[in-house]
């Protein structure tokens, strides 16, 4: 089992409507996913093939709008491919839209139990980790404050520390960490390094070369919805810089 792939992406593709207001019909909605692409649609990703082994740290590189976040969402299972297969054999802790589960009117305490629970933690697991989560987010005094009264920085901090405590073997990180102050960002990065050292698999989307080199050994280079290059991160970054300058 040691070398088993945890993520298998086979010829995956997903298309979106170019124009959100494009005419829709009931027939469209129910038509088979195998149907041919229409002129008002484009493939955000197509013919993407790769697999990831347990414990790998992969950086996804590409310009804006080339499908990086879409790839992450496919792996997270929050969108479904129109073509091919995306098989993820282990649980995923998605650091995507991390504040999504938080409810304005509930207290920080209730929100932690709610979000962690929705991501699959049992009450006892949360009890055990509650203090760590709060300590990490540095918002001990605001435990019983309604979430809506937190500053936006505090909101991100508590959200990150909840998701980062999930006991899932695969971690997906979108550019969420661009927010928050420098000190907290460094803390998040240290946390990610610890998780990696603990044998987790990392999928990391970033524009920051330094961060990519810090965490990742392997890179995926996406351009125009296709996987152009899959190789060691240094090679990927060299190619990316050659293509687009830096």
């Amino acid at each position: 089992m040691a070398d088993a792939a945890v993520i298998d992406v086979v010829d995956a593709g997903i298309r979106f409507k170019r124009n959100r207001r494009a005419r829709r019909s009931f027939k469209d909605l129910f038509s088979s996913r195998r149907r041919r692409s229409r002129p008002d649609e484009f493939w955000a990703l197509r013919h993407v093939d790769f697999s990831v082994e347990r414990g790998e740290a992969i950086g996804v590189v590409g310009r804006n709008g080339q499908g990086k976040s879409t790839l992450l969402k496919l792996v997270a299972g929050v969108v479904i491919s129109d073509e091919g297969k995306v098989n993820v054999h282990d649980g995923v802790a998605p650091l995507i839209e991390i504040t999504g589960g938080f409810v304005d009117d509930l207290t920080v305490r209730d929100n932690v139990y709610l979000t962690a629970g929705l991501h699959g933690m049992s009450r006892r697991q949360i009890d055990d980790r509650f203090d760590e989560i709060i300590e990490f987010a540095e918002i001990g005094e605001f435990l019983d404050t309604p979430y809506k009264h937190l500053s936006s920085g505090m909101k991100v901090r508590i959200a990150f520390s909840v998701i980062a405590r999930l006991e899932e073997p695969i971690i997906l990180v979108d550019e969420v960490l661009a927010v928050g102050d420098k000190g907290f960002r460094e803390k998040c990065y240290r946390r990610i390094e610890e998780l990696l050292a603990g044998g987790r698999t990392l999928f990391f989307v970033s524009h920051n070369e330094k961060d990519l080199r810090r965490f990742c050994k392997r890179g995926l280079y996406l351009d125009k919805g296709e996987l152009v290059l899959d190789g060691p991160i240094d090679e990927i970054l060299t190619r990316y810089n050659a293509d687009y300058g830096s």
Binding site: V79, L106, E167
Partner: protein, 277 residues
């Protein structure tokens, strides 16, 4: 393998991660319960009157219809006596149905951020509405009991059908909810259309009147409304004459068919819905 740090807690190694995983079913149930609890908590923690609000609505409506029919029209023939119990015994279930379906029109949109970040089976976004509104319905039943006692309505053996009515209504609500929720994402107008249809359905269903009050010539049509049979089951607890087994069987069959259609629509549209929200 443990990696320790003073800023954050220990990281469990891969081997320790596994045993904490639960079966998909247990996880679904747990999530459903969390979301339902959240709904109720939000509703009751942000309003000073809390529980009172959820019973005030049906009470006020009951008061209005009671006033109109009993004091203005002096009509005793719209339903059985005591009319207030007759009314409430169908109005409370109607509130559950009405609240569920109108909330289902926003099931995806309201939770878009959360849906974009979790992979819980998406049927949960409909089921949690049915469940939380159902809990409110059950919580409002003591009010019905109080009115029954005060006005001297007698409970009879047919009250054993009450749970059957709840089950049928839950099936119906989930089915209709799973049709409405995804379609509204694509056709926003449907939200208003659903509200209109619900208002029509309120008067087309035997809530403020009994089946007997419907003229013979159109009575066979009302039987095709699944709510007719379900409401007759609820009412039978106090008014055995209201029980109409033919309507109940039609209701049971159409509820199951609607559930099947709902599941099909829901599964077929899921891919497109996730892209859209």
């Amino acid at each position: 393998m443990h990696v320790r740090s003073h800023t954050i807690g220990p990281v469990t190694s891969y081997a320790e991660v596994r045993p904490t995983q639960r079966t998909p079913f247990a996880r679904y149930r747990h999530s459903l319960w969390l979301l339902t609890k959240r709904d109720l908590r939000v509703r009751y923690s942000t309003n000073a009157l809390g529980y009172f609000w959820s019973i005030l609505d049906p009470l006020l409506m009951a008061a209005i219809y009671y006033f109109v029919f009993v004091f203005i029209f002096h009509r005793g023939s719209v339903g059985e006596q005591p009319y207030i119990v007759f009314l409430l015994s169908a109005l409370l279930p109607w509130m559950w149905f009405n609240g569920t379906i109108s909330d289902c029109t926003r099931a995806y949109m309201r939770e878009a951020k959360l849906i974009r970040s979790t992979t819980i089976p998406r049927t949960i976004w409909v089921n949690r509405i049915v469940l939380s509104k159902g809990i409110e319905f059950v919580a409002a039943l003591p009010v019905l009991a109080i009115f029954a006692i005060v006005f001297g309505a007698r409970v009879n053996i047919d009250a054993i059908y009450f749970p059957l009515a709840i089950v049928l209504q839950a099936i119906l609500s989930v089915g209709v909810g799973m049709i409405v929720a995804p379609l509204v994402v694509f056709f926003r107008d449907l939200e208003r259309a659903v509200k209109l249809i619900l208002r029509m359905l309120f008067y087309a269903s035997p809530i403020i009147y009994g089946i007997e009050a419907v003229p013979e010539s159109v009575r066979h049509l009302t039987i095709f409304n699944p709510l007719t049979g379900i409401l007759s089951l609820y009412r039978a607890a106090f008014f055995p004459g209201e029980l109409d087994w033919k309507a109940v069987i039609v209701a049971a069959i159409s509820s199951v068919i609607l559930l099947a259609i709902g599941m099909w629509v829901f599964a077929r549209t899921q891919r497109a819905v996730l892209k859209e929200i």
